[in-house]
Amino acid sequence: MATELHDRLSELAGHTPAASPPPDLWRRGVRRRRVTLAGRVVMAALLVALVGVGGWTWHAARPVQPADTHGSPHLPDRFYEPSPWLPSFDGPPGQLVAVGAAPHKSLFHTREGLYGVTASTGEYGFLDLPDADPSLGENESVAVSPDGRYVAYWLRVRATGKPNGSGAGGVGVYDTSTGSSALFDVTTRHGLYAGGLLWADATTLAIDHGAWQSGGHSGGGATGAPPWVWVMGEPRPKAMSISQTVWSMLDVGSTTTAQSGLLVSPPVVVDARTGRATTLGRGPNTGPAILSPDTRHIVTLQGERGNPSWLKVFTLRGVARGGHVEATEPRVVRGDRRVYDFVGWVDADHVAAVTRTPGPDFRQQVDSIDIHSGATETLVGPDWVPEIARDLLSAPSAHAHEPPRPWDRRDLAIWLTIVAGFGLLFAGGRLWSARVRRT
């Protein structure tokens, strides 16, 4: 019977009209082969380009380690503004040389984030601080302890009534060695006024605060209170034991500096833990001032803060540990650049200060200035100056590597969507093909 079907098919096929093959089949075949080959080359080039871009992106996203510092703390010769797409540290980062606030982006929103720079490797990363609100703080929203172990920050507002737009909900302290945070939660009617955070020494945090009297974003007044002092290891801060007069002179949020447990706010110097105050006779009586590590000198700025100035150096005639101490007439010391703010001390004779180059395109950097001669050396180059752990100003300098610039994740998402789209099209085509084969 199969033979019958064969015969029938042959008969049908036998009625196919005769036709001659066209003479150009070979030439057409060669041309088709070339076009196909060219198409494959283009596709391969595109694939290589895609893989190259992907590889480069992956490589760029990897943290770049700086020069080997043998694990010892060092001071980078400059700092960089971190990329908003920089990832957070995987775990406790360890000792930090600097902290700061910068925009931190995710796929769907942008918000202020707090980042740190590790002291041993110079690695940058955002800090995942529980309940943090980096937008708060009159001046700095974050404070690193002098040794770089602790990071103090303001907590998100907790209010029984309408919260103030600048209200805080307490203070948190992050331990960079363990990754744990100690939180001091405070619930008020409209939130806490976040005045300032200042480390008096490696384990003593002074907190300037108040209580907002109204909610919303219109500001409103805040009632004040003596600063809190939080000694690490204790469960919560205590109010500083100082008189009304001394309290009125302490402005922890802006002009006050700290050295060896002492808060310096001319004309007083206050021991943060005991509240014992020293008044300075014939010395500076206003503006920012910084006490030298040996407590023999107080250095202030000539002129108003924010108006670049030279140094005024006072020599104390006693130890600022209570009572009254006289100071000598100040000497004006001119460095290479005008001074804008104090950072700390490199040693007993060299103050670290933020300086600015003159002119409209001023650039700020951190200089080491000899308080006797005015000789100036660059400690941290321009332009980005975060808050530096002041004990590390005397650490060996190391060449800083720019932190990685990860690819914008939104671009990455677009590419992934395109690739996924092609993948779906391909898979759909395969399914369609399989369906047709089954018919």
Partner: protein, 164 residues
């Protein structure tokens, strides 16, 4: 003129008519058959120098696969019809031929290819499977389904083999 080209043109000259008949059975249309065969031969040029031995099985494989691809790409814009354009009332032999032509037209391209390769080209199941790129079991089932459908649709073909 290269040796490859000479071989190719010799093969085309010798086998064009036979391959055209197979293409006609696969497509059911004279013009489509020519287009299909020429496309398949043009495609075969790319691999001509790599073909070891008789090139006909290779060209035949391209032919049947290309026909399935053409059917997929054209099925959306082609209308099928049950009525033939020819007047087939006269000769019983013509009636028979037209009935088979129409019967093949209702088959899916892969079923049609199985029928053509198995019962016209006399390929074995394994060769048919190889040419179509499918399993031998699939060849069997496709042949069985195709023959059943031919018998159902056209009783005048009831004497077709029941199975392969």
């Amino acid at each position: 003129v290269s040796a490859g080209r000479e071989d190719f043109e010799a093969f085309v000259a010798a086998r064009y008519a036979a391959l055209l008949r197979t293409a006609y059975l696969l497509t059911g249309h004279e013009q489509d058959a020519e287009d299909l065969l020429q496309q398949s031969l043009v495609k075969a040029v790319a691999a001509w120098k790599r073909i070891d031995g008789d090139p006909e099985p290779y060209v035949r494989t391209i032919l049947v696969r290309q026909n399935v691809s053409r059917w997929r790409s054209r099925r959306w814009r082609e209308l099928t019809t049950d009525t033939l354009p020819e007047d087939a009332a006269a000769d019983p032999a013509i009636v028979d031929r037209m009935a088979l032509h129409r019967a093949l037209g209702v088959l899916a391209p892969r079923q049609r290819a199985v029928i053509v390769l198995r019962y016209y080209e006399d390929l074995t199941e394994a060769q048919t499977a190889d040419a179509l790129g499918i399993a031998v079991g699939t060849v069997k089932s496709q042949a069985r389904d195709a023959l059943r459908r031919l018998r159902e649709e056209f009783p005048e073909l009831a004497d077709l083999p029941v199975s392969t």
